[in-house]
């Protein structure tokens, strides 16, 4: 048997493409830091246009459509990377052609390649963590990406417009800043599109936590994914100092790392915003721990609240990294082996990144709170590493608590979700094979077991998805679980809420106003099709619904003037527009 390219070998799974590793302002030796990254190999048309991403370079400010990037097919069946640096010769660093950096900034086909590669790479990270294909939040298989969509300092994913749009703007020294050249910005926006595909109701107004979750989560993915580029991390750890095989311990303290380029987001945009600001657009890891953040009025605002999630996660990451470094020791006085340092960072970040993504399956599909997310993270890790031998769960608990985030109320003492007590569940009326993929079959399971599952049957219930989750278990064997999510929806008049659900309405809420309430859960079935976890927000949870209603009323979300389609765009603009916070 021959494969498509005329070879008897399986086609390669990945394709190397050059990207700007951070953004054009991050330079070493005056040169833009670039990296060759692996992206899923696929058939590519001009754009690039692949099976998940369609780059179309249209600028609304000037009504100009730019020529697409065309990648030529090489002999080995892969595509030629037109911006690849020449290969290393005799171990010497790669030599850059003259004008290489200028080309990167001034050639829109590189910009198109850059966004394509980072979006595909981010998608691949999610698919790797979840062991399945992941849909976009928007309709269709291919998301549009416009690298120079408008003259504005903004970039956003829009479900309604089925695309990710990147702006460009003039920086302080009249230099044009392209948001599509910032790894952090591109990875952040791609994450919004993917998260929206996994949990579509997280973009709805619900609570300060849900409002902040999208932003915080997208930041976490952007920050952690950088650590999978070892060459880059090795270079950026002590940028500006002479580099060699060793690295001084002075660069490896928690404080030094918090200040490093690696822990800051979108440096060039940050500088572009205004002089005097921290160089990064956001450096959440520098938040001071130990304050009652979750109840502080300024942290009820969604941008600042999102930073708490990032601060907790990135501080946990630093602690884990530092503790792994202690185990490897020094190779000379005050010096560590650079490659080992990078390797340990990549391992810790890779594990946390996978946890962060996989935890989404263990979160309720509506009205997420940071507490839910923490419990989901801990549960995911317990499933993979039951004895916490690397201290991930301890570090996460400590640092989430440091930023005033506690585990969920219904969780176990150690913060993880309790396994579902499956006594009384009826499996006889459903079929194992159908339960792996069929929404109707899972709904039947819910219907037959609604009492045992404690699902209120007064409202509308819909199974939104049934997805496989495949990972390697603690014993090294492949483990296939099934994740199903159901949503409950009910619409009542405000005056009916008290009687029906003991929900207290805000005093000035008009009694006849129609209020829509949500509930729902994630059902995790083990490899035998038995229900292992039910992680749910019950629709009749009066405490949660009362708090939600109060938030919606006070934030104006019930006034009907908020255009939800533009929520992320508005969120990003407000994030840039807010004053710098004084510590």
């Amino acid at each position: 048997m021959r494969h498509a390219r005329g070879s008897r070998h399986s086609p390669v799974n990945t394709q190397k493409l050059t990207i700007i590793a951070q953004d054009p302002s991050i330079r070493i030796g005056g040169k833009i830091v670039v990296s060759e990254v692996d992206v899923p190999a696929e058939e590519l048309l001009a754009g690039p246009r692949g099976y998940r991403v369609n780059v179309i370079d249209f600028d609304t400010a000037t009504s100009t459509l730019y020529k697409p990037a065309v990648l030529k097919r090489a002999r080995d069946g892969q595509y030629e990377d037109p911006f690849a640096l020449p290969p290393k010769a005799n171990g010497k660093p790669r030599k850059r052609p003259k004008g290489y950096d200028k080309t990167l900034v001034s050639d829109p086909t590189f910009h198109a390649q850059n966004v394509y590669a980072i979006v595909m790479r981010t998608l691949a990270q999610f698919e790797f963590a979840l062991g399945r294909r992941v849909p976009w939040g928007s309709q269709g298989h291919q998301i549009h990406v416009a690298p120079h969509a408008f003259a504005d300092a903004n970039a956003f994913y829009s479900r309604e417009h089925r695309g990710i749009f990147f702006g460009y703007f003039t920086g302080p020294s009249n230099r044009t800043i392209y948001t599509c050249l910032s790894h952090d910005v591109v990875a952040h926006e791609a994450t919004h599109a993917i998260l929206d595909g996994i949990r579509s109701r997280y973009l709805e107004p619900s609570s300060p936590d849900q409002a902040a979750f999208h932003e915080g989560f997208a930041d976490i993915i952007a920050l952690l994914s950088i650590f999978s580029l070892p060459d880059l991390v090795g270079q950026l750890l002590d940028r500006g100092t002479p580099r060699g095989r060793m690295i001084s311990k002075a660069h490896l303290t928690t404080e030094a790392l918090k200040k490093s380029v690696l822990l800051g987001l979108a440096e060039e945009m940050g500088v572009g915003l205004s002089a005097g600001r921290d160089s990064a657009l956001r450096r959440s890891a520098k938040l001071k721990p130990g304050r009652p953040y979750m109840s502080m009025p300024e942290f009820s605002e969604e941008h600042d609240r999102g930073e708490l999630l990032v601060a907790a996660m990135m501080n946990a990451f630093l602690e884990i990294w530092m503790s792994r470094l202690k185990k490897i020791g020094f190779v000379a006085a005050g010096k560590r082996d650079r490659s080992l340092v990078v390797e340990e960072g990549a391992r810790a970040a890779g594990h946390l990144l996978t946890m962060a993504i996989r935890a989404l399956d263990y979160c309720p599909p509506t009205d997420i709170t940071f507490a839910d997310y923490l419990s989901a993270l801990l549960t995911v890790d317990r499933e993979v590493v039951p004895d916490d031998k690397y201290g991930y769960r301890a570090a996460l608990l400590t640092h989430f608590n440091n930023f005033d985030i506690r585990h969920a109320r219904g969780a176990d003492k150690d913060g993880t979700w309790k396994q579902f007590d499956g006594q009384g569940l009826v499996y006889a009326r459903t079929h194992f094979d159908s339960m792996l993929r069929d929404k109707e079959e899972v709904f039947r399971f819910i219907w037959e077991n609604r009492k045992a599952l404690d699902i209120d049957d007064r409202g509308y219930v819909e199974v939104q998805s049934v997805r496989p989750s495949i990972r390697i278990g603690p014993d090294g064997f492949t483990l296939r679980e099934t994740v199903a999510e159901y949503v409950q929806i009910m619409t009542l008049q405000a005056r009916e809420l008290k009687t029906a659900f003991k929900i207290t309405s805000p005093p000035d809420l008009p009694p006849t106003m129609r209020i829509r309430i949500f509930g729902g859960g994630a059902l995790i079935f083990d490899e035998y099709g038995q229900l292992k976890y039910k992680i749910a927000n019950r629709i009749e949870d009066a405490r949660r619904q009362t708090a939600r209603l109060k938030y919606l009323w006070e934030s104006g979300a019930l006034d009907g003037d908020q255009d939800e389609g533009l929520r992320l765009a508005r969120l990003h603009r407000a994030r840039m527009a807010r004053p710098e916070r004084s510590e």
Binding site: S63, T64, F150, A151, G163, E301, H303
Partner: protein
């Protein structure tokens, strides 16, 4: 000689469509009158309004005031509040008429203080506090951004369905240099620039009337409120600069500044079929972006509005310009008991921002103790100057829910319901 006390007040609400123009005539027990004109501007007049309508209003103001003492309050610099102060070269404009009436004083928000951006540290200007210069500079950036947006709508790059709304808000926020200069120079005395807690500058004109200034807060005052998202003043400078990247060249030469001239595939209008879906949606997304920007800057400008409470006899009358939530927050802050007490006993409320959804915060409305379902003496009176149908329905002005509440809980006078032939509606308040 000490003047007598005012016994009644006539409030003349002029029909200016989408705009504000109120002439307050305090009638004293000696029969003399003293007048305050609060705003004079329009952004859109009702359909079918005859030409020269604003001129007729100016002449009516002139005739009503005559030689009586008279002052002007310009709550903020939006077109729909100050366009009537614009003079013309012939000296026959509405602004010329108001100027020749020689108001004793013109009261404006502190952000209108000239030279504040350049000389914030000058002793006379220090009272405006830290951050004042940046706030004033931001206002100028806001004008530039609004001009960019208006320009983009005129060049026809945005979807048709969004253009009217964008240009309406954009044009309201572009600079009105003629009116601004006229306001600065028309008073007999130096203009008074006020902020929350300062004297109004109207005390000498209105004996036995206390005029409380509740807003706008200075930067330092509003910084004390921590519970809402703020917009940094520097942001507007940044945004203005960002937008220059795409429009500067276009404005100067009528052609757009293309980022990568050597890589152009098509400059339209006939784009390749496979790109058209994205092009339409990118344009729509961009129009939505611009709308989000002009809405933000419109709010920013509204929040520079002067908020006044006139306390005369037993009555309190609230005139907040277009103040929106962020302006109100300082006055409504839990620590401002004095303001709270004043607001609770308000007898007449000029509805903020033409009845828009967020200029009458729920917290403010909840304070008014004199609102009630049954009509009769002592019931809250409300005045609303507005015009239906000029904003997009998603952001309806006046807001239906608010209008219903105003009708149910107060005696509402709205210019929206005035017959076309009427120039104004008088409301007499016994003090």
């Amino acid at each position: 000689m000490a003047a007598s006390a005012p016994t009644s007040l006539n409030i003349r609400t002029y029909q200016v469509g989408f705009g504000d123009c109120f002439l307050l005539s305090f009638i004293y027990d000696d029969g003399k009158k003293r007048h305050v004109l609060i705003d004079f501007g329009t952004k859109a007049l009702p359909k079918g309004t005859p030409k020269g309508h604003m001129l007729r209003i100016a002449k009516n103001i002139e005739a009503t005031v005559g030689e009586d003492p008279f002052a002007v309050v310009a709550t903020h610099r939006h077109l729909d509040h100050i366009s009537g102060f614009e003079p013309n070269a012939q000296g026959s404009g509405t602004g010329n008429i108001i100027a020749r009436m020689k108001p004793t004083v013109v009261v404006q928000p502190w952000t209108e203080q000239p030279d504040l951006a350049e000389n914030a540290k000058a002793p006379a200007l220090k009272r405006f506090g830290k951050g004042a210069a940046a706030r004033v500079a931001a206002l100028s950036d806001v004008h530039e951004i609004a001009a960019h947006v208006v320009d983009a709508t005129r060049r026809g790059q945005l979807p048709r369905e969004m253009r009217d709304r964008l240009s309406f808000i954009g044009e309201d926020n572009i600079k009105n240099p003629g009116a601004v200069k006229n306001l600065m120079t028309m008073g007999q005395k130096k203009p008074v620039y006020v902020f929350s807690g300062t004297k109004s500058g109207l005390d000498a004109l209105l004996p036995d009337v206390k005029v409380h200034v509740l807003g706008p807060p200075t930067v330092a005052q509003s910084d004390k409120i921590k519970s809402y998202a703020k917009t940094s003043d520097q942001y507007w400078n940044f945004q203005a600069r960002a937008m220059r990247a795409g429009t500067a060249s276009a404005r100067s030469k009528g052609r757009s500044k293309v980022l990568f001239p050597r890589h152009v595939a098509s400059a339209g209008p006939n784009y390749p079929v496979e790109a058209r879906w994205l092009i339409y949606h990118a344009r729509l997304a961009q129009a939505e972006q611009l709308l989000s920007i002009v809405t933000m800057l419109d709010k920013f400008m509204n929040n520079t509005s002067v908020i006044l409470v006139f306390e005369a006899g037993s009555k309190k009358l609230l005139f907040p310009g277009d103040a929106q939530l962020e302006n109100w927050l300082f006055a409504l802050d839990g620590t401002n008991d004095k303001y709270k007490a004043l607001l609770q006993s308000v007898d007449l409320y000029k509805v903020g921002h033409h009845g828009s959804w967020n200029a009458t915060p729920k917290k403010l409305w909840a304070l008014f103790k004199k609102k009630k379902a049954t009509s009769g003496p002592g019931r809250l009176k409300t005045l609303m100057s507005t015009l239906e149908g000029v904003f997009h329905e998603d952001h309806e002005v006046p807001r239906g829910k608010l209008v219903t509440e105003l009708k149910n809980q107060s005696d509402l006078v709205s210019t929206n319901k005035l017959p076309k032939s009427d120039l104004f509606k008088d409301t007499l308040v016994q003090l």
